[in-house]
Structures are given as structure tokens and as C-alpha cells.
């Protein structure tokens, strides 16, 4: 508040949200009175609320957490404080009533969430106008809706199609029972497909694409098109009342018929690798929806198909010659990040003794995208082979970040064998990817809360492999709203966060917060 004084004479008049059916116009009677006084009061209230939200969400928390006691003493607390909506005071909960009685200021903002408290209701109120601002700020970091962002373009459509009239005449309302929560039957060792399909089904970006007719199976004349099969599956999950498991026959046959050479190995009736299937499905859907070009491995491939918009990011590797100091940059696209576990597990094992060593996802990411490694390379300046340091970092983060833990390691050498690494890796519900991007190093990003927030990801789904390397079972966890569900083939059950976080993840899907 003090940091960013509101511009006193804004030319724009703020309006309360127009009445919507099925929703009251104001959060409570008292707020209704405040916002109906005159335009000036409405303007200052909304403007002040916005500046409070900025100070809560964009700056260090110490500012809104510091309150002035009635005795004039200044305290900083860990617990939430109350920011007065009508004056620039920050109060503790105990002093709130005193301030209210003295100044007749009745509305306060909670410093942790930005929620609005009404003293006369003696309760938090959820006003459509204020709540809309709060959600926008928390969600996208900005109040404006007009600003073009990369994911706005994703859903951009012409304004005619946005009108409620158009929507109501051209859409069908699905039953309240159809919520996308169905199992998928195992068609005989196809659990590796089921887990990936479930993670696609509960991916909001892909769901919105398919449910908004992003790929209509009626208009597609490709034979055995996998994207059509996906479209049908999304329809069956989100528009049909059926709670029985789904039979992914079309996906399966599309998969068998596919001509994809790189994944020839997959097409068998045996247990397979879920990660390979993920790659297969992603590339197949890219070809059906995208520019038709095959993504070249190791190159910088850009395409505006749904798969690229969802999963693809860019990596930049910088090679610095140790002899002449020359730097070469190389950029390549990635569908997912693969994290080797073995080296780190061994390193940790040495340090921590033979005890069950655990690692964190962040440690694995540190190893790959912060630390540099030595390599040999042919330097153009020196014109000879030189020692070099190579560092890889993320140049562009994807909307949905897929991470693979390399749990299946193939050991070469005398006793060749494939082994599964069962080391538990702790992963967070909330992941900050800023330290692994090149932006973290180019600017002083330590204090930039806004930047950090734009790189914050929320866990979306987890694929777990149980059992041995050559035989086992895949299960997955997916989040719908705030509730987690466990998917075991056709069976869907409620899952606690502790179940999810305790799982030995093989694949992790994180979704960027500012999209959700």
C-alpha cells in the first residue's frame, strides 16, 4: 500500500459486476451499501483493494504482515493480519474491532489470502466483484484480461462465439453426473496406456481442447486417427452419465495400426513402459493436430498444435570452452524432462551411509539444470578438441511440465541387466521452476516475486510403477480441483494427499499455476 500509492484521479470508473443469474450481486448487505454510496467510494474501495492485493501477492510478505498496534507499537507476525479497506492501516485481529469502532471502517482484507472480512457480518464475505479481482490476481498475476499471454492465445476465439446466446444454442449441457471420473479397463497388460490416458484426461489444457471441438472426429477423415479416438474418449468421460469403466478400444486399435516406426517396440501384447507410450501418444497427436512435421529429436521444433502448446518447452545448453572461453549456445525442444536417479542415489548413499537414502525432486533438478558438467568438444575458436563446461537450463517452460524419473536403468558391461531403482524421491505439490530457467541467472530474480509466481507449478498427476522391472503394474493419481483420485485400471478411488506424495513416482505432470 505504502509501496504503491494508488493514483488519485483515475479516469476509469469501476463498476460492480453485472448481475448474473444464480448469483447475488453483492457479498453481503453491508458491502452493498458501501458500493451503492457513490462512484467515488466505489472507485477508492476497488482501487484500494487492488493495491492491497498487489502488496500481498507481489512483494515480500513482511510488508502486509507488519501491523501497528493500538499502542503505536509495530509488530510483524507470522499469522495473518487485517488490512483496512478504507484506510492504509494494517491491524492485528485483536485491534480490528477497536479500529472499526473508532473510524467506522468495516471492511478488512486478510493478509494471507486477500479475502474480504466484513465486521458487521462478523464473517468473511465473498463478493463477486472483489472475488473476481482476487482470483485474477492470484491466478494470472494481473487484473487485466486483455493482455495477450501465450495461453490466452491458446483459447482465443472470435467474440461472436463468446456470446452467451451463441454458447447456449450450440452446446449441450452435460449431466451433473458426468465429471470425467471413470476407470479404464485393462485390455490385457495395458495398464501402461491407462495411466497415461488418465493423465491426459485430467489435464485441463487437453480437456478444454477436445471438449471445445478442437479435433472433431466427424470432420476428420484420417483412418484410425488416434486424435479422433481421444476425442471420443473425452466425450465419453465428460458428457455421458456412465460410471462404469471405459473400454479404450479405439485408442488400442489406433495404436496397433499406427505406423510409427520409433515405437515399434511398443506394439506388443506385453507389459510396456508408460513413458514410451506417453511419447508415442504425444507425437502421434502432434501429427494429427499439428503441422504434420515429425519433431526432430534434438532440434528446436516449434508448432502450434495442442501437444506442443501443452507439453513442449525449450532447453538451452551452453558450452563454454575452458581454453579460450568461447561460448556456444544450443536450443532444443523437449517434451519432458528426464531425471537420472542412479548417480545421485549413489552419491547420497556414500554420504548418508547405507540407510534408506531419500532424495527430493529439487535435488534431481539441481543436478541436471543448475550444475554444469565437463565435456570434450571441438572449439571453433581454438580449432581443436578442448575441455569444456556444459550447462543446461530451461529456456522456455511448458504449460504442463512432464517429468520422468529414470527408474529403469539398463546397465551395460559384463553382467548386462536392466534394473529398477526404487529410491523414493520426494516431490512437492507445488514446484518452483524459476531456479532452473535461464532467467534465474540473467537477472536478479531473487526478489522478483512476480517472476517466481509465473514459474510456479502445481502437481496434476502422478504415474507410479509397482513391482519389478519386467513385470508389475501401473497406477496413477490425478487431481480434479483439490481432490485427488487414485486410478487403478477400471477402479477409481479417493486418494489422500499423503497417498499421492508417498508414492514412488515414475512420471510427474505439473501444470503452470497461472493457467489454472
Amino acid at each position: 500500500m505504502a509501496a504503491r500509492p494508488a493514483t488519485p484521479a483515475s479516469p476509469k470508473n469501476f463498476k460492480v459486476q453485472p448481475p448474473k443469474p444464480g448469483q447475488p450481486v453483492y457479498g453481503c448487505e453491508h458491502l452493498q451499501r458501501l458500493l451503492n454510496q457513490d462512484q467515488a467510494t466505489t472507485n477508492t474501495s476497488i482501487q484500494h483493494y487492488k493495491s492491497i492485493l498487489r502488496s500481498i501477492l507481489d512483494t515480500t510478505p513482511i510488508l502486509p504482515q507488519t501491523a501497528k498496534l493500538s499502542e503505536g507499537q509495530i509488530v510483524t507476525s507470522l499469522t495473518p493480519t487485517c488490512l483496512c479497506l478504507q484506510c492504509p492501516m494494517t491491524l492485528t485481529e485483536d485491534d480490528r474491532n477497536k479500529h472499526g469502532n473508532k473510524k467506522s471502517h468495516r471492511f478488512y482484507v486478510d493478509s494471507r489470502s486477500g479475502a474480504l472480512f466484513c465486521q458487521m457480518c462478523d464473517d468473511i464475505v465473498w463478493d463477486p466483484t472483489f472475488e473476481d479481482l482476487r482470483l485474477k490476481k492470484v491466478g494470472t498475476g494481473t487484473f487485466s484480461t486483455g493482455r495477450k499471454r501465450k495461453h490466452d492465445e491458446l483459447f482465443a476465439s472470435d467474440p461472436l462465439k463468446e456470446s452467451p446466446q451463441y454458447i447456449s444454442t450450440n452446446t449441450t449441457v452435460a449431466s451433473c453426473k458426468a465429471n470425467g471420473l471413470r476407470g479404464i479397463y485393462n485390455a490385457g497388460a495395458t495398464c501402461y496406456q491407462n495411466v497415461v490416458l488418465q493423465s491426459f484426461l485430467h489435464n485441463p489444457v487437453l480437456r478444454n481442447f477436445y471438449l471445445s471441438d478442437g479435433h472433431q472426429s466427424i470432420n476428420c477423415d484420417t483412418q484410425h486417427c488416434l486424435s479422433c479416438a481421444m476425442d471420443d474418449m473425452f466425450q465419453d468421460f465428460y458428457a455421458v452419465e456412465n460410471t462404469n469403466g471405459y473400454t479404450a478400444a479405439n485408442i488400442l486399435s489406433g495404436f496397433w495400426i499406427s505406423e510409427k516406426k520409433a515405437f515399434e517396440n511398443l506394439v506388443t501384447t506385453k507389459e510396456q513402459d508408460a513413458h514410451e507410450f506417453f511419447q508415442f501418444l504425444a507425437e502421434e497427436l502432434h501429427e494429427r493436430n499439428g503441422d504434420g512435421k515429425k519433431p526432430e529429436i534434438g532440434s528446436e521444433h516449434s508448432c502450434d498444435c495442442i501437444i506442443h502448446q501443452t507439453f513442449y518447452g525449450k532447453l538451452q545448453s551452453t558450452t563454454t570452452c575452458q581454453h579460450c572461453g568461447g561460448v556456444t549456445n544450443q536450443v532444443q525442444s523437449f517434451l519432458d524432462l528426464s531425471l537420472p536417479l542412479e548417480n545421485l542415489a549413489q552419491k547420497k548413499g556414500k554420504k548418508g551411509g547405507a540407510k534408506a537414502h531419500t532424495m527430493t525432486l529439487q535435488e534431481c533438478l539441481d543436478e541436471e539444470y543448475i550444475k554444469s558438467d565437463k565435456c570434450e568438444y571441438r572449439c571453433h575458436n581454438c580449432n581443436s578438441m578442448q575441455q569444456a563446461r556444459r550447462q543446461t537450463m530451461i529456456k522456455r517452460l511448458p504449460n504442463v511440465l512432464a517429468i520422468q524419473m529414470k527408474r529403469f536403468e539398463y546397465k551395460q558391461g559384463r553382467n548386462e541387466r536392466a534394473a529398477k531403482i526404487d529410491t523414493p524421491v520426494h516431490f512437492p505439490l507445488q514446484l518452483n521452476m524459476l531456479p532452473y530457467t535461464n532467467r534465474a541467472r540473467t537477472q536478479d530474480a531473487k526478489d522478483n516475486h512476480e517472476l517466481a509466481r509465473s514459474c510456479t507449478y502445481d502437481l496434476l498427476s502422478v504415474v507410479v510403477h509397482v513391482g519389478e522391472i519386467d513385470t508389475g503394474h501401473y497406477v496413477s493419481y490425478c487431481r480434479v480441483g483439490d481432490q485427488w483420485f487414485a486410478f487403478n485400471d477400471h477402479k477409481v478411488e479417493l486418494a489422500a494427499k499423503s497417498d499421492v506424495l508417498g508414492a514412488r513416482a515414475y512420471l510427474l505432470f505439473y501444470i503452470i499455476r497461472s493457467l489454472a
Partner: protein, 393 residues
């Protein structure tokens, strides 16, 4: 944290002992404050969901009354009436709250179907009997009950026999150990309670046969992929190329090691897992006469030709073979993709089968009619497959 001497934080749950050092007290009060914050955040979230749902319920109700009060000829227009309920006022086309919806409104109405929401699960943890005679919104709270899914459904255990090996049964039971009501019950659909489901069948998009879902992958493997497409393609190509160079090519593509895996009855030990799969296949596809017979018959009458099948075992060893085989296999695939794949369903398809099978074998030359049929229906099939093959459920 306002006073240095406090033994606890705002929640007052984590309390330092009286004789604790100031540092201990600080640590306790910090931890206590953090606990308070966690509870605070959770509470705000729940409060928001609940209060907004109730406020919207109040609004929906008063709007409904308003539209009933006015003439219902124009449902979209805002009726020009003033309606007041306990919880809200409808005036000038907008809804204003009266009091706190948490106090004035007791139930929640679904904003979409305008029916009351069921607030407790009907079974399992926290279950309550729903009020009789009330039509609820179809979105129910999820059921949390061991052995049942979120809808209170369970499945009949896959019965013994019918292609199920002991190993599979054990695995299944591990997973659904609590699944007692259905376990072992070989009950028919009639005397099953409605929440006990059986595995459905699905239509194979190629041959249009109805296959039990648990066997679908195996079926498609043999129907579309011929149990590893490599095998069929390579075999077809070699046969169509004639026997002359087939031998040498065969040697190129098949690592010596994997030839041990030739699926002769005597050499089972060579690749046990492969055989397991085949056994499963044979049992599973009883409804599908073409493939098992092909498989069963091939090895016995003409052991020499069977070597062609050795491509299948190589796939089993894909992990190992990648390094040495990749290039050759790729090249081979490309050829076969261009030349053989389209021919699979054209007259070339049956021909290799005929070559293999000497005329001495009486009737089981099923493979030839099947592909012919598929050739005829090919266009029709592929066009309709998108919609037809979705399982009838």
C-alpha cells in the same frame, strides 16, 4: 510473537514447557503460528466453497420464485417483480442477500440442474441415508469404502479358468483383497446386486468381433498386429521374395541367440515368457478360430518354415537388441512398410499362408477367407470404424 515471554503462538496448540529456554519458547511459538496458518488457509478455502454455494442457492431460489410470479412466456427476460425470501431479495432483475447465507440457507442447490445436492455419501465413510422422496442432483459425494470405487461400485472377480492363470489370479486378489462380496462369486448377472459390475466386451475395429475387454489387447495383437507386426511383415516379405534369399536375410535379421526361442514345444525353456503369452492367447481367443489354429498348426507340420517366426522372439529381447539390431531392423521395416503393409489385406495376404500350409492339411485353412473378407469390407470398415467400434455399454 508480540511478547518475548509467550510460550505458544496464535493457535495455542504447541506449548513450550514453563522452564523452557527463550529459544525453545520462540521455536514453539513459531511452530504454533505456522500450524495456525495451515488451519487458517484450509478454513478459508472450505468457507469460500460453502458460503458461495449457499449464497448462490439463495439466489437461485428467489429467482425461481420471481419467474414463477411473472408470466413464464419469456423465461430469459428479467421479471419485473419484487420477491423476498428469508435469505435474499429479488428486485430490478438482481439478487441481494439478506443476512449471512451460512445462517439463512441450509441446503445447497446445484447451479446447473437446480436440484438439491446430496450432502453426504450414501455408503462408506460418513454415510447418511438420503431423505426419501427427494430428487437430488446427480452429482453425489464420492464414496470412500474399501473394496468399492467412488461410486460404490465393485467388480465380479475374474473367474478361474478361461485363460486365467494362477499367477494372474493371485495378482488380482492382491489388488482387490478387500473385494470380498464379489470375490469368488461366479454369480450370473441376474443375482448380482446392481453395484457389482462385470467386465464388458468391446468390438474389435478390424474384424468386428465382440471380445471381452481383458482379452482385447491380445486379440488386437493377433488380429491387427499379428502378435508383433514385425513378425508378420518379415515373414510375409520373406515368403513373397521367394525362398532363395530368405535364408540369408533371415540370418541378417535374427541374432543367433534368439533363434533358440523358436516356438517348438521342446524349446520352451528358451523363452518362457513368450510361451506364457501364447498360452494365454490360445485360451483367450476361443471365439477367434483363425489365429490360435495358425499358431498351433504351423510348428508341427513344417518345422523348417517355422524359423521364419523367430522374429517374434527378437522382440522379446528388445532391450538387448537395440544396440546391434537397430539399423538393420529399421531398414527392413522401411521396406516392409512400403511394400508389404498395403498388401496385407490384398491378395498377397493369404498367399503366404497358402505357401506355408501344404495341401495335405484338411480344413483349417481359415486364414484365407478371413483376409479376403476384410479386403472387401476394407473401405466401408475404415470409414465407419471411428464410431462403430466404440463399445456398446
Amino acid at each position: 510473537m508480540s511478547s518475548e515471554t509467550s510460550e505458544t503462538g496464535k493457535a495455542g496448540v504447541i506449548v513450550a514447557p514453563n522452564d523452557a529456554s527463550p529459544m525453545d519458547k520462540l521455536a514453539h511459538s513459531v511452530l504454533d503460528d505456522l500450524l495456525y496458518n495451515i488451519v487458517h488457509d484450509l478454513l478459508i478455502k472450505v468457507h469460500r466453497d460453502e458460503k458461495m454455494a449457499r449464497a448462490n442457492t439463495a439466489a437461485i431460489r428467489v429467482e425461481k420464485l420471481a419467474s414463477e410470479a411473472s408470466d413464464s412466456s419469456t423465461p430469459d427476460a428479467k421479471p419485473d417483480v419484487r420477491i423476498e425470501t428469508e435469505a435474499a431479495i429479488y428486485e430490478d432483475g438482481q439478487v441481494l442477500l439478506k443476512g449471512n447465507p451460512l445462517k439463512t440457507t441450509k441446503e445447497i442447490i446445484c447451479p446447473r440442474c437446480h436440484l438439491p445436492r446430496l450432502l453426504y455419501p450414501t455408503d462408506g465413510k460418513g454415510a447418511k441415508k438420503p431423505a426419501p422422496g427427494v430428487v437430488y442432483c446427480k452429482k453425489h459425494p464420492y464414496i470412500e469404502k474399501p473394496g468399492f470405487d467412488i461410486y460404490g461400485q465393485t467388480w465380479v472377480a475374474p473367474g478361474p479358468g478361461r485363460g486365467k492363470k494362477k499367477k494372474d489370479m493371485e495378482k488380482k486378489l492382491d489388488g482387490d483383497s478387500a473385494n470380498s462380496p464379489a470375490a469368488g462369486a461366479e454369480s450370473s448377472a441376474k443375482d448380482r446386486p446392481p453395484n457389482v459390475l462385470s467386465y464388458p466386451s468391446a468390438t474389435c475395429s478390424k474384424c468386428k468381433r465382440c471380445i471381452l475387454v481383458t482379452r482385447l489387447n491380445n486379440h488386437m495383437g493377433s488380429c491387427i498386429g499379428n502378435s508383433g507386426r514385425n513378425a508378420s511383415r518379415a515373414a510375409a516379405q520373406k515368403i513373397s521374395n521367394g525362398g532363395s534369399n530368405a535364408g540369408s536375410q533371415n540370418n541378417d535379421n535374427t541374432p543367433p541367440g534368439s533363434q533358440k526361442g523358436t516356438p517348438l514345444p521342446g524349446s520352451r525353456a528358451g523363452s518362457p515368457r513368450k510361451r506364457d503369452g501364447d498360452e494365454f492367447d490360445e485360451d483367450a481367443d476361443e471365439s477367434d478360430p483363425t489365429n490360435p489354429k495358425k499358431k498351433k498348426l504351423k510348428p508341427t507340420p513344417l518345422p523348417k518354415k517355422v524359423i521364419l517366426k523367430t522374429k517374434a522372439p527378437t522382440k522379446k529381447e528388445k532391450v538387448k537388441s537395440t544396440s546391434m539390431l537397430n539399423v538393420e531392423q529399421k531398414a527392413d521395416d522401411e521396406i516392409s512398410a512400403v511394400q508389404v503393409a498395403p498388401k496385407k489385406s490384398t491378395p498377397k495376404g493369404p498367399s503366404p499362408a497358402k505357401k506355408i500350409k501344404p495341401s495335405s492339411i484338411p480344413k483349417p485353412t481359415m486364414p484365407s477367407p478371413a483376409p479376403k473378407k476384410s479386403k472387401r469390407d476394407r473401405d466401408l470398415e475404415s470409414e465407419s470404424s471411428g464410431t462403430l467400434s466404440s463399445p456398446p455399454q
